[in-house]
């Protein structure tokens, strides 16, 4: 099995120091529950340890992994090492909040075996950061990035967001420029998704903030891609950019390639042999179930072949790697559609693959509906 197909291990740290106003990830702010959660996680690891013999990547996400105290994080990694094996050269990623970054923390993370770090900067504009409910300032983010780049991590990623309330293309360009100055190996640039149930989602429902219109979305997206491509980043997925192919996030690519993955922690999702399942989105329920030896699973589905087909399409169309022609399966005749999409510059078909162009990435969600 090559590394690409090896399973990934995801661990969800469901704790944050404070809740950001746009965020709908599952996390809570009661950090006192960490010890109990760690115990439960150990139990879940024991339950799952034989599912896969060896992993190609680890991703410690959340939540805010850097909200954990050093000894807590140490226990967590000990547990991981005890129960799971990683292939040589496996990618070991951790998400970090700029506010939590300091030299000691970085050394500690390197010591724990992490070789990739993803910094949740989101913006360098203090007004934007405040409106998002982020803890840090633009300055703090720059300081953190400076430290990270010189810390010995040779794979650093920066998360940024656009399409924010009151954000102009100029202010977005400024944030991008400030990030690129540090020459991170990888950038994730997300358009803000307004999620119902979040404070920002409620504001939008009440009409107190207006989501950006389709034309602006379009301009932001193209601008981002052009800007970063000019800086020699590869635009390899809708929202992801890497300086070199080896800096493309190995772990995330497993999701898009439909490689198997195991997710541990509340709200984590897993996928193996056409079965997808997910854990309860509640720390207490998660701990409760595991304390009586029950798997903390709340949903499980077995994919039909048609569902597999659809997944291959919509995941593939998000990436520049594209979709295998064979993934179209049995459908009447894709030729006229493909011809039209090629003619209009949405995809290119070559060497048995349908590859979305930049214009194609922009409408990636609609493409599977055509086949």
């Amino acid at each position: 099995m090559n590394k690409r197909e090896l399973p990934g291990l995801y661990i969800h740290v469901p704790f944050c120091r404070s809740k950001c106003r746009y965020c709908d990830f599952y996390s809570i702010t009661s950090l006192d529950l960490v010890p109990e959660w760690l115990e439960a996680l150990e139990r879940e690891a024991v339950l799952r340890k034989n599912l896969f013999p060896v992993f190609g990547s680890l991703y410690l996400g959340g939540g805010t992994p850097t909200a954990l105290m050093e000894h807590e994080a140490g226990l967590l990694m000990e547990c991981v090492r005890r129960h799971f094996r990683f292939a040589e050269g496996a990618e070991m990623s951790v998400e970090a909040n700029p506010d939590d970054v300091c030299r000691e923390k970085l050394c500690f993370l390197l010591d724990q075996g992490f070789n990739r770090i993803s910094i949740g900067v989101q913006s360098f504009d203090d007004g934007e950061l405040r409106r998002l409910g982020r803890r840090h300032t633009g300055r703090k983010a720059e300081a953190a990035l400076g430290l990270v780049m010189s810390s010995g991590f040779d794979n650093v990623s920066v998360d940024l967001m656009y399409g924010l309330e009151g954000q102009s293309l100029t202010s977005w360009a400024r944030s991008l420029r400030r990030a690129v100055k540090f020459e991170p190996h990888h950038l994730s640039c997300y358009q803000l998704t307004i999620e119902p149930g979040t404070p920002i989602g409620r504001l939008a429902e009440e009409g107190r903030i207006v989501p950006i219109d389709e034309d602006s979305e379009h301009s932001f997206f193209l601008f981002t891609s052009r800007f970063l491509t000019q800086k020699r980043y590869i635009h390899y997925e809708v929202s992801n950019f890497a300086r070199k192919p080896q800096f493309e996030c190995m772990h995330n690519k497993k999701y898009w390639n439909r490689a198997p993955y195991l997710g541990l922690g509340p709200g984590a999702h897993s996928f193996k042999d056409a079965v997808r399942w997910s854990n309860v989105k509640s720390v207490s329920e998660y701990c409760g179930k595991l304390s009586v030896g029950e798997p903390p699973v709340c949903s499980r589905e077995v994919l039909s072949s048609e569902q597999v087909r659809l997944e291959k399409l919509f995941l593939g169309f998000r990436t520049r790697a594209g979709v295998d022609l064979s993934a179209l399966g049995s459908m009447p005749d894709p030729a006229p559609i493909l011809k039209q999409l090629e003619k209009t510059g949405i995809v290119r078909v070559r060497r048995g693959k349908i590859v979305p162009t930049l214009k194609g990435l922009l409408v990636a969600d609609s493409l599977p509906l055509l086949f």
Partner: protein
């Protein structure tokens, strides 16, 4: 038999037929009060949603006259819309009399006249009824005058009622038993029963509705359908009392149903005569004139795998709608399907809806057309109701299109606007009658094609509901025709082609392009829509591409949710047809003919 009365309620649309039927049903105590609902006989969902009757419905009511005499009344509620006139004509063939309703505020309208003439053709007793006398705008004297002047009826004989408020119901009932003659015929004679309707029941097979004119029929009898000689053993006979109610036998004069395990759908023909195999009658009943379709359109399954299922559904549907005619058809864009003839555009819409709802079909209907006639250079003549078969232009010597005599009744004050509408629709040779004060009847010769599509709706809008239209085909007239092709992204879509008058071609082309622009959803790419005559583009429109449709994040936890959303969207797309690389919604083909008037 002397105590049976068979009658239909006929009127212009919305004059209150079904509401009057409600009151008669309630008077007879046929349904418990809590099961009662308005327009009880409009049983189909589409009828209730649209508030109109589409199918005639029969119901048998017991009635005790004030002098204690007991009657059995067979009532048939009929539709008023001109597209369903075939339902009326069949109902009339099973009756001895009619209630001719006139709305006291609207007065005599086009279908009042048309239905009156139909009843007179059948030699039926006519009871004029002035309904809705409760309305503030009711003008009984005016209506009486119109009855005398326009209908030639003795207005002293008119019964006044308010179906809504239940006023005058006894008078209506008395008039029915007093004036309508009982059926003639004898139960001793050989059986002769007219099939006037039928429907398919998955458990019981075909159930025929019939009027027995002579003889009698009961379970165990072997009956014969006279048109094709098919024989079946009768399982059950009965009458309609909202639901079917079995009886020991049906005898001369009765209206009811026969179930005889008929599984071969094509054996049952509406209009056929049923007789006894052992003791047949020598002469079948006259039956019905074939329905004469005026609008044609093809029906295709959205998924070509469903062709056989569609074929089966059409056969069953046809049992219950004798006015539909159809035959096989095929199209480059849409595959195998059926060419169908309809009595009008509303009829077409109803067929589409019923096939979808009652028979679970996902279908597409192509652009409707009337029937054109072409004399070709080799001396032959071809009749074309499908633009696909439009002859090569250079071979056409003479092109002809069907004309009608359109009669429009309206209050004088709308005359200017209506004249303009008609002139825009190529009406010629106007004639004016002034049947009663303040009212005009305009009679025009007009191409049928100009009327069937959206003329009626326009007329109603212009006259605020006071104008009504009736028409008769008067034959073919020479015309200058062209075939308008529609290209979607450069490809001709045969199912969207249209035969039009040369002078109106540009107008039509612009309309079709504009409508398609609204109907076709945005795609990933721009879609060019063009109208062309013989390769020359005469109109165009563009459906812009949508610019962005992609979520920012899609990681491990997002995949299931995202897939479910796509599955839902995919289901929605099932109602679209992929033509080349463009998804065309099911309704677009018919919608292109509808102009936006509002």
């Amino acid at each position: 038999m002397a105590n049976i009365r068979n009658f239909s309620i006929i009127a212009h649309i919305d004059h209150g037929k079904s509401t009057l039927a409600d009151r008669l049903i309630q008077y007879a105590g046929l349904v418990p009060e809590r099961q009662f609902r308005d327009q009880m006989l409009d049983t189909m969902d589409i009828e209730r949603e649209r508030g109109i009757t589409i199918k005639s419905q029969t119901v048998t009511l017991p009635y005790t006259a004030p002098d204690g005499e007991e009657f059995e009344l067979n009532l048939i509620d009929t539709p008023g819309h001109v597209d369903f006139s075939y339902e009326v004509s069949r109902a009339l063939a099973s009756c001895e009399g009619v209630l001719l309703l006139v709305d006291a505020s609207q007065g005599v309208q086009a279908q009042t006249l048309a239905n009156l003439y139909a009843a007179m053709e059948h030699d039926l007793t006519i009871i004029p009824v002035i309904n809705k006398i409760d309305l503030p705008a009711a003008d009984v004297d005016m209506v009486r005058e119109q009855m005398e002047g326009e209908l030639g009826l003795d207005s002293d004989l008119a019964v006044l009622c308010s179906a809504k408020e239940g006023r005058g119901i006894e008078d209506v009932l008395e008039a029915i038993v007093e004036r309508i003659p009982p059926p003639s015929g004898s139960s001793q004679n050989p059986l002769s029963a007219l099939i006037f309707d039928a429907h398919y029941d998955p458990f019981r097979g075909t159930i025929v509705s019939c009027r027995v004119f002579e003889g009698s029929v009961q379970p165990g009898d072997v009956i014969r359908f006279m048109s094709n000689g098919a024989v079946y053993r009768v399982e059950e006979v009965g009458i309609f009392k909202i639901t079917r109610e079995p009886r020991k036998r049906l005898s001369a004069g009765d209206v009811g149903y026969i179930i005889s395990g008929v599984k071969t759908l094509s054996d049952t023909r509406v209009g056929d005569t049923i007789t006894l195999d052992s003791k047949p009658t020598d002469s079948p009943l006259p039956g019905f004139k074939e329905a004469k379709p005026v609008v044609f359109s093809s029906i295709y399954p959205i998924s070509s795998d469903d062709y056989l299922s569609l074929s089966d559904a059409l056969e069953k549907y046809k049992l219950n709608d004798a006015s539909l005619v159809y035959q096989k058809d095929s199209s480059v864009a849409l595959g195998q399907g059926f060419r169908c003839g309809f009595l009008g555009l509303l009829h077409l819409e109803i067929v589409q809806e019923r096939l979808e709802r009652e028979y679970d079909q996902s279908i597409i209907m192509t652009v409707p057309s009337v029937e054109y006639r072409f004399a070709l250079d080799d001396g032959s003549t071809v009749v074309v109701d499908n633009p696909q078969y439009y002859p090569e232009a250079i071979r056409i010597r003479v092109a002809e299109e069907p004309y009608i005599k359109a009669s429009i009744i309206l209050p004088e004050r709308y005359m200017g606007a209506v004249m303009k509408l008609c002139m825009d629709r190529r009406a010629v040779n106007p004639r004016f009658n002034y049947p009663s004060a303040g009212r005009v009847e305009i009679v025009f010769d007009m191409p049928l094609a100009e009327v069937v599509f959206d003329f009626y709706d326009r007329l109603k809008t212009i006259t605020q509901g006071y104008g009504s239209l009736d028409y008769d085909l008067i034959g073919y007239r020479e015309s200058s025709l062209v075939k308008l092709d529609i290209l979607v992204n450069g490809e001709k879509v045969d199912a969207l082609s249209l035969i039009v008058h040369r002078d109106r071609a540009r107008e039509w082309a612009v309309q079709v392009c504009d409508r398609l622009k609204e109907e076709i959803p945005r795609h990933q790419f721009k879609i060019a829509i063009q109208g062309a005559i013989g390769g020359k583009i005469i109109a165009r429109s563009t459906v812009n591409a949508f610019r962005k449709d992609v979520t920012a994040k899609c990681y491990g936890g997002d995949i299931s949710r995202k897939r479910k959303l796509l599955e839902k969207q995919k289901k929605g797309k099932k109602r679209m047809k992929m033509v080349g690389s463009v998804m065309i919604p099911q309704g677009a083909f018919v919608a292109v003919l509808r102009s936006d008037n509002e």
